[in-house]
Amino acid sequence: LGHDIHFHDKKIALLEAGPRKEYYQMPDSYSNRVSSISPGSATLLRSCGAWDHVCSLRFKPFRRMQVWDACSEAMIVFEKDDLDDMGYIVENDVIMSALTKQLDAVADRVEVLYRSRAVGYTWPLPSHSCDTSPWVQVELADGRRLQTKLLIGADGHNSVVRKKAEIKNVEHQYDQSAVVATLHLSEATDNNVAWQRFLPTGPIALLPLSDTASSLVWSTSHDHASELLTMDEESFVDSINSAFWSNINHSDFIDTAGAMFRSAISLLKPSGSAVRQLPPSVAKVDPESRAMFPLGMGHATEYVQHRVALIGDAAHRVHPLAGQGVNLGFGDIACLAHHLSAAAFNGSDLGSLKHLLKFETERQRHNVSLIAATDMLKRLYSTTLTPLVLLRTWGLQATNALPPVK
């Protein structure tokens, strides 16, 4: 918004709980919190000049994504026809640093209050007939008071803005935690493929960081996650390699059924099945890089109210299996910024429900199906029950063969 021409005269305040994060050069070791940035999100970051900073710090493009089942041979490969980048693996710190730089560039319009916290909100009545201010009043921990025409809640899945605005949230805690770590590969490779295997306990993913390093995101039961965190480094590395390479969950029945289906497909569509590749093997884990956090799913029943809008995890929370969480948030931003820009150019009151509802409708339509699909995939792949394995095996194989469905 600070870089939008129609916001030239507007004033924006950003309340950030954390400290200012700016890097001129990245440390040698990689951070264990990374995100898979879609091309669309990269475009958004490019539009405000942040992507250039990302490129000058560090990031890893990937060209292919291979997703496969632990219980069968079924797999699906995603790649662009023209061998373009499918996405980028970027450390969260890098994105933060890039955004900090671009915020500095519009400091006359955007004031960032680091290490700040809102302790109270006063909401306006919709059609005020009394003499109180029609704007949202925000009280900060340091006693300062701010008032605003539009409050945007981007405060994560435990959003206080959402709670105080009394917006109902449909939420569900998965009995899973994600384990993250920075891994070093056995040997250098192009490393431009993102790997994900669905184990019955949850998906394990290897995201490329460089020719020799990858980031781990392993969603599994809380107990197993704790185990993974406390076991010695060697056992940890063994578990990872075994998770990707072992066929212990295969059954003859499924293997045969899968093979039959695959031959059928190759008769109908010769190019429709590909050979399953194996991910690189892991040699070492970065000490201190192991961490875990619980997983859940959530969706706010409303994204907007008079003078309030929710974006990102405050509005919706998904399982990391699709690598979409942050991209949904960036999509929210692009949409809200578009509607606010048009509203500003029309001289509208920025907190007016009329354009906020347009944002809500557009994003809910997009997000709900993706969140539901992700949730369904999570449930579908959490079982070893033969009928469901068969269903998802054939489903995955068929999807891999049919470009439109893919």
């Binding site: 021409i5 129609h6 029309n346 001289g347 509208s348 009329k354």
Partner: protein, 288 residues
């Protein structure tokens, strides 16, 4: 046959000859507190901003090469005649214009003043005054770059005098924007019967079909008072979506952009139109 003759009720000429109709004043007084309820009685006027503000903004931008997209109407002095609660003044003020809003209903001005007071930027950019157009003519000769008279001319008692006064307070080559309702059988059915009595889109009694103004008549009055009509566009309200759009036909609502001629100081004496003039205009009105 709704009407063959348009009975232009003219008040006897006096020093306080006014284009303000006192019956109209009373009507709006009753609803003054409803202006800023976006989903209330004035919802249709709120959503009209979605087309009338871009119309005004883009027309003005197209007439100049020196503007900033972040403050498109900066430096432009606008008079919002019949501003009501300030529904149109505020967006114009936000776009950078210096706006003077006038309205004969004191309660409207009070509401407008209070609403703008909470916004420090608008409080400085907009000035409201309870007044009729005639009353400010003397102190505001050729003062404004733009006059906006949106949903007003169908409420005035004397259209000719109203347009004359607009011309007097407008700078040469200044712009006049008018939105109003055509006087047709369709506008009676949809604009009065459906809009007021059936669907409640407009508070009942707001409009009198007799006072609706056909675009041909408006154009005639404008042209004969030193204006050059540049644009006439039909407008349509979609009650299901609650939104306005442009349309070819001007048989219902329409918007006009006219420009005052550049020659300075041409003032027309207030002459009463001749009998033949009245009948000629009525004839066209009846067959519209």
């Amino acid at each position: 046959q709704l009407s063959l003759f348009r009975f232009t009720v003219k008040r006897p000429l006096s020093t306080s000859h006014s284009s303000v109709d006192s019956k109209e004043v009373k009507k709006f007084q009753l609803l003054a507190h409803k202006w800023w309820d976006e989903e209330g009685e004035y919802a249709a006027l709120h959503s009209m901003n979605d087309i009338r503000v871009p119309f005004i903004r883009d027309t003005l931008l197209s007439m100049t090469s020196n503007y900033h997209l972040g403050n498109p109407l900066s430096g432009i002095k606008i008079l919002d005649v019949g501003c009501g609660g300030g529904l149109l003044s505020e967006p114009l003020g936000r776009l950078g214009a210096s706006v003077t809003g006038i309205d004969p209903v004191e309660d409207n001005i009070r509401i407008a003043d209070r609403h703008k007071s909470f916004d420090p930027v608008l409080a400085k950019r907009i000035q409201y005054k309870s007044s009729s157009l005639e009353e400010i003519v003397e102190e505001s000769m050729e003062t404004f770059d733009v006059i906006v008279a949106s949903e007003v001319v169908e409420h005035v008692a004397d259209l000719e005098m109203f347009i004359k006064c607009c011309s007097q307070v407008l700078k040469p080559e200044g712009s006049l924007f008018i939105t109003t309702i055509n006087k047709t059988q369709l506008s009676y059915v949809l604009g009065i019967v459906v809009a007021e009595k059936i669907m409640g889109i407009v508070p009942e009694g707001t409009h009198e079909w007799e006072k609706f103004v056909p675009p041909e008549e408006l154009e005639h009055v404008l042209e004969s008072n030193g204006f050059s009509v540049k644009t006439v566009n039909g407008m349509l309200y979609n009650p299901l979506l609650g939104s306005w759009g442009w349309m070819e036909s001007t048989s219902l609502n329409y918007a006009v952009h006219a420009v005052k001629s550049g020659a300075r100081g041409r003032s027309h004496p207030t002459d009463a139109p001749s009998e033949t003039d009245i009948q000629q205009r009525s004839a066209t009105a009846g067959t519209a």
